[in-house]
Amino acid sequence: MPAVPGPRQALRSRPRIGVVKFASCDGCQLTLLDLEDDLLAIADRVDIVEFAEATSTRSSGPFDILFVEGSVSTPEQAEEIVRLRAATTTLVTIGACATAGGIQALRNWADHDAIRSLVYPQPGYVESLATSTPIADHVAVDAELRGCPISPEQLREFVTAVLAGRRANLPDEAVCAECKRRGVVCVAVAGGVTCLGPVTRSGCGALCPAFGRGCYGCFGPKEAANGPGLATWLGRDRTSADVARAFALFDAWSPPFRGVIDAAGGPPGPIDRAIPKERSDA
């Protein structure tokens, strides 16, 4: 899947836009409303036909562009995304949940029935899949915006590009490159802080290093990220469990990060977690 494709075909004069959510915190769709200065101008150029958080006007399609937030984590969601895909020309996943499974994908290492029983006295009332998976595991995805949450600047660039009929400029480089451009002193080398910047895609503006802490990887792996390489380097003065816990956050289930976590025997947690043996039997 190309990371940054243009729209599949020329858009009609007022494209029909939808915004839908699966398992998520609503933060990425809120980023759309956070385009405060441009929101009404964008709304002048498009028809927002489905956006339950913002409007009581509803539509089940068709959509020229559908922004999808959240991961697939219930049986209904697994069916719904297939239906939505069929009604959509350009399907865009927004945020770490939709592109990588989100923080809730940590349950993919766990015994789901055990977790559900620990949390609910009547687990049978709760409809939930054993895994939380990215949208691309279920249907074809045309474009993705990364981040937990997505960057308002990248969202603005994407929407502008679509309306102008050009390709969006969403660079795929490491956070380290943004750090250097901002003149931020390397927190990993100079400060000894755990930092995922070398393997994490840019887009945040090197936010965490600029605030004196290590990158926690919320934009997910950059193209050809060398997870094991960084894990080896971090492992010089850290336990493998502590290296794994740094990767085991919002993009934990993305393959380059997942490999590091698997190598350490799973994410940190209790015995209902970190049981890859059972998972391989399933």
Binding site: F22, G27, T55, I103, P149, G269
Partner: protein, 440 residues
């Protein structure tokens, strides 16, 4: 188009609103009426569960701050503030006074952003008869633009202190990840001055509205602090005499699972529902409002309506907007940065329990910690899961008064009442290690 079905059968009636709109998250309303009496009113929350109470196990409290933010994209600061205060109480950490002020400013930013979002984008369209703020903007563009500028001022505070408006990164146990400089804070001043005018105008706009009539006497619960309007600290109080430490939440309240919801419902241990949020705070803490907010409340003369009429919650939110902006300005003007971003601290075993006032009301968190300060077990009780039972009780009271109306109007009025509580369904759906099983 709502997937709403109303099946009349004599005086028997079923109202289903399958996908509530303009609320945060996914929920439905199911109301059953028999012989003119409401048999049941159920707010069904089918937002997919994400099991946060288990996801934080094994983590340090600094990791918890990053993780619990993801419960809610609308109020991540509330989750971070509650967790950081819980940790600092368990580890006996005293932070710099400048840190206290900055955290309050950060929280003011979230209140402004969240209240402006609810008033202008979610609630106002109902009261002015539009399906959305975008439709409203076709007719009253300056109103919506003003609301968006107000929201932007709140987001700017969160972004300045926390790096970004959603899921900020700088809150750490002991303080912040770095010193926040004075010039970073003072640069907020100009936007806040404009926000003050916009917040005052919001109060006057809201005061001119005529929401549907529905009056009831409910149990109201909020924090109350001796020195300030409640946000980061206080004791839990109610309009019927409750007064307890935030760490004792579980001694007076409990959660139950019901078949129709993915969110556990909280009740008083006496079985009674209770309401949290702006209306409760304005009612129980009116004397602590900033003088400008207090004056605004007097000007619109709606204190009694706020206490008794859920549809007037928009007025409470508007008054709190004035309060949050005024307090933000005071903090910005007085801010002197600390020498260091955070104070040193050591973890220890114990219980970390705290509650703060999220935009939607009291948010309780408790973590059992081992000797390394890692989480062994957790309980997180968001405001919406506490308000669920009160919302259902109010729906059951309100519905009989409108059953003579056309079906579409009944549906709309019930949906509007639900929106007036600003339910955050994303928050409510992630679960608690439940101790009590008490099913009907």
């Amino acid at each position: 188009m709502h997937d709403a079905v109303i099946a009349p059968g004599g005086e028997d009636l079923t109202v289903d609103v399958r996908n509530l709109t303009r609320v945060e998250g996914e929920g439905s309303l199911h109301l059953r009426v028999r012989g003119g009496a409401v048999e049941s009113a159920q707010l069904e929350i089918f937002e997919a569960p994400r099991y946060f109470e288990r996801l934080v196990v094994g983590r340090s409290m600094d990791e918890v701050i990053d993780i619990v933010a993801r419960i809610c994209g609308i109020c991540p600061v509330a989750y971070q503030m509650t967790a950081v205060h819980a940790a600092e109480s368990a580890f006996d950490i005293e932070v710099d006074p400048a840190t206290v002020a900055l955290r309050r400013l950060l929280y003011c930013g979230e209140w402004i952003e969240s209240h402006a979002l609810h008033i202008y984008l979610l609630h106002l369209p109902d009261l002015l008869g539009y399906p959305s703020a975008l439709d409203l903007a076709q007719h009253e563009r300056p109103t919506v633009e003003g609301g968006l500028r107000l929201k932007r001022a709140g987001n700017a505070i969160v972004a300045r202190i926390g790096g970004r408006a959603i899921h900020p990164v700088s809150v750490r146990v002991g303080g912040f990840s770095r010193v926040i400089r004075r010039d970073e804070i003072t640069s907020l001043r100009a936007d806040l001055a404009e926000a003050m005018d916009l917040a005052e105008a919001t109060v006057d706009l809201v005061g001119s509205l005529e929401p549907p009539a529905f009056r009831r006497d409910g149990r109201l619960v909020a924090l109350r602090a001796p020195d300030t309007y409640p946000m980061n600290h206080g004791r839990i109080v109610s309009n019927d005499g409750l007064d307890l430490a935030v760490s004792d939440w579980e001694s007076m309240f409990e959660e139950r699972q019901v078949a129709w919801s993915h969110a556990l419902q909280a009740h008083g241990r006496d079985g009674r529902p209770y309401l949290l949020g702006p209306s409760s705070r304005v009612t129980l803490d009116a004397d602590q409002l900033h003088p400008r907010a207090s004056a605004a409340l007097t000007r619109i003369g709606l204190a009694d309506a706020i206490a008794h009429e859920p549809n007037w919650s928009i007025a409470a939110r508007a008054v709190e907007l004035v309060h949050a902006v005024a307090q933000a300005i005071d903090i910005v003007d007085a801010y002197e940065p600390p020498a260091k971003g955070s104070v040193p601290w050591l973890p220890r075993a114990g219980t970390a329990a705290w509650a703060t006032e999220a935009p939607r009301g009291l948010l309780f968190q408790r973590f059992g910690l081992d000797a390394d300060g890692r989480v062994m077990e957790a309980r997180i009780v968001p405001p919406t899961s506490q308000n669920q039972a009160a919302i259902e009780a109010d729906l059951a009271l309100f519905a009989p008064t409108i059953l003579d109306r056309p079906h579409e109007e009944i549906t709309h009025l019930l949906e509007q009442l639900i929106r007036s509580y600003d339910p955050c369904i994303s928050c409510a759906t992630h679960f608690l290690d439940l101790k009590v099983e008490d099913l009907p």
